[in-house]
């Protein structure tokens, strides 16, 4: 799965000359936290977040309430945005794993997706990524979710797949993670359709060297 498959296309964008107050209104109305700031032809020049729009105590200083209002009204997106240099972006063809690692690494909630020339084509948020992973694991479909522990020897997984094929079960989603307690083993998580829980448990447990550690029917 690539970024272009999970990003939100046609994101709400704002121009740098918009007032900050207006930008905030747009974010509130649309329930979003990030707004790419673009110039002519959707070229990204920055990003604003709700945090950036919040007034900081040191800025307010000794202003009275009227001055604050006036300043706020004058404040343009251009002056509060995170400038392009400091914005992390991804291209639509990046894989979602790499994107996710970028986000976790830098602790960022949102990445504008740009094509060459920094043209914004979409935006990808943590929520988007989570959703993609859900889909990859077959969350939306009904079926049997089974976790199997197996060794990481080549051919081990093929055994499992052969059984699946024999039983004519459909695999909706697949995932794996290492078993931290047993070196050289890992867990495979499968979402199956067209099977019932009991049959799955018996058939899979019959595979030598593999063990069903968790099984549940998801609706």
């Amino acid at each position: 799965m690539l970024v272009k498959d999970c990003m939100t296309r046609h994101p709400v964008v704002v121009s740098p000359d918009l007032s900050a107050a207006e930008a905030e209104r747009i974010m509130v109305e649309n329930h979003i936290r990030h707004l790419p700031v673009v110039e002519d032809g959707k070229r990204l020049i920055g990003l604003i977040t709700r945090e950036r729009l919040r007034l900081k105590a040191e800025d307010i200083g000794s202003y009275d309430v009227w001055e604050i209002t006036r300043n706020l009204a004058r404040l343009k997106v251009r002056s509060v945005m995170i400038p392009l240099k400091q914005v992390w972006t991804v291209t639509p063809n990046r894989s979602i794993e790499r994107t996710a690692s970028l986000m976790t690494e830098h602790k960022i909630g949102c990445l504008p997706v740009v094509e060459e020339g920094n043209v914004v084509v979409g935006i990808v948020t943590q929520v988007d990524l989570l959703e993609s992973f859900q889909i990859m694991l077959g969350l939306p479909a009904k079926g049997v979710r089974v976790t199997v522990r197996m060794s990481d020897q080549p051919g081990e997984f093929a055994k499992l797949m052969r059984v699946m094929a024999e039983q004519k079960w459909g695999v909706m989603g697949i995932g794996s993670f290492p078993d931290r307690r047993h070196e050289g083993f890992y867990f495979a998580v499968l979402k199956l359709v067209g099977a019932d829980e009991a049959a799955v448990a018996t058939v899979l447990n019959d595979i030598p060297g593999q063990e069903v550690v968790d099984i549940r029917t998801v609706v």
Partner: protein, 708 residues
Amino acid sequence: MTQPSAPILKVENLAVAYKVRGGEIEAVQNVSFDIHRGDSHGIVGESGCGKSTVAWAIVNFLGANGYVKRGSIKFLGQDLVGKSPEELRRLRGDQIAMVFQDPMQALNPSMRLGDQMKEVLTVHRGISESEAEDRCVDMLQRVYMPDAANVMRRYPHQISGGQQQRVVIAMALLNNPALLIMDEPTTALDVTVEAAVLDLIAELRREFDTAIMYITHNLGVVARVCSQVGVMYAGEMVERASVERIFAQPQHPYTQGLIRCIPTLGEDKASSALYPIPGRVPPPNARPAGCIYAPRCDYAQQRCRDERPALRLLADGVQVRCHFTEEIDPGQWTPPEEVEEMVETVNGQADAATPASTNNGKPILELHDLRKYYPVTGGSLRDVLGLGEKRFVKAVEGATFSVPKGSTLGIVGESGCGKSTLIKTIIGLEDSTSGQARFMSFDITEGLSERNMALIKELQMVFQNPDSTMNPSYTVGQQIGRPMVRFGTVPRSQVRDEVIKLLQSMRLGANYYDRLPRQLSGGEKQRVGIARALASRPDLILCDEPVSALDVSVQAAILNLLLDVQREQNTTMLFIAHDLSVVRFFSDNVAVMYLGQIMEIGPADAIYRPPYHPYTEALLSAVPIPDPTVKQKQIRLEGSVPSAVDPPSGCRFHTRCPRRKLLPDDGAICTRETPPWQEAGDGHRIFCHLPLETLASFDPVVESLATH
């Protein structure tokens, strides 16, 4: 994937007014809707209901005298109303793109297509020419434009209409807009081309995740491409729902009426009826104070006349502008008395006339191998000097059929297939080139100037365009009276009485006698046109697309009227149309034409099921059916209609035939030999090399038709 709660476009309480001399006209009032990412939102309505005005308001292109009077248009959260022209300009073509009805008109005739496309990129993105060129070629390939790189160097008139529309669509998508407004993008196209373009639109919508606002008058198209539908009537949105809901359970009486008055593919006059909506759309300056639809509504009550209903959100997410929608059960609907009477007589007639409509009746018109060629002069110097080889447009080739008295022969085909030339030749506006044509044993191969009055009087014509069917300088009475005077069918002193009688039979009052055409609506003009054709009491009436320029609600009334005429006078009719549903509904027999050649002819019922000609099959699969639940096979023709100057050898359809491969050698025989006429029984003949059994083994294109 995450659906932000805010829509791409949100229109609220929009009112658009045009300043005219002596006041202003509110073309659109109280229109509200929203479109989300990846949605395709249809706006349907009859002509003049303000649907295009809404589109123009969104891009703020209302001309010098139009302006948004009330309401807001929020695009990606920002209100477009009140934005500076420069800001709007930056949005247009970048974030909002638009595709229009007539691609030929929409493209600049004196600029190369490439230049027109590239500038979208160079202006908005500021990228270099060569880079823009590459991207444009890419985009052209994505819309399946053959020979994309070459197309860039051509001028608009050098490519076909369907290709032009592809270019326009590609141009609109170049900047990956968030909103794509399509204003009747396929209305000017032929049905098979339309089908391909609609497929393309659906595909691009999925791929680009673009929100589409799709404006059309055609319910069939809506059913095919839209997910949401808003129905507009007289400048207001009267109902909004998902496409399935709109067709399955229309809530507003207008929507119900609209769906009742279109024939669905497969319906015929014997088994079903069309129920026109009475009255006409009020003009913007004379809208009633209460519900705008109240004057035409069967359920109207006092409250409807007093109080304008608001657009209410029903429990199931449907929005309706009606006071009593919960109390209306369309299943219980009975046509108003007059309509019912009319429809019953029509049905009665259809039953009674069944014997006549089968092919047993005595033929009134017989054609045998009728041809019509037009000489063409080429552009080369030799041709100009008359030295070049003489060449011909073979507009009609080998037309052979007979029409029994009192029956209707429908002729279908796409533009340029020669159907108009065929009837022009029959009526004598053109001389035929060769072949035989007899009308009641008179020879009619010669043009009008060679025919005598008695013959001329027997063949009359009903025309397509209501606006040009009547001479604007004469009153209704004068125009209907003229044939009576000319043919001397009625003594001069009684002409007026006769005309009034005829007007009444057209359901127009005697007070129409002194009206001028410009005071009539399109449907009324068409009635007068029919009356004029009937004035000489002809035996054969040739109808050249008599309803295709009319709104659907009027269309139904005209079709009923024609049926009524036929019942009363046992008139024989030739009925040309490009709309297969209408032809099916109206005709006893149907002929399908392609490139001057009749491909298939037979009883209407037989034409619409296998065995049928591969071209008929493609046509049927292309017809937009106003029912989103109907499954249609997807058969698309490749390329465009070849020139009639040098039509393809053998079978004229072989260049595009999707079934050719079923024959040995990929249908080599089709390119060499003229196909045989195969008899499929009951006068059903198919002009194809494929054996009848193969043709019969095709799956029906539309499932519902098979059960018929």
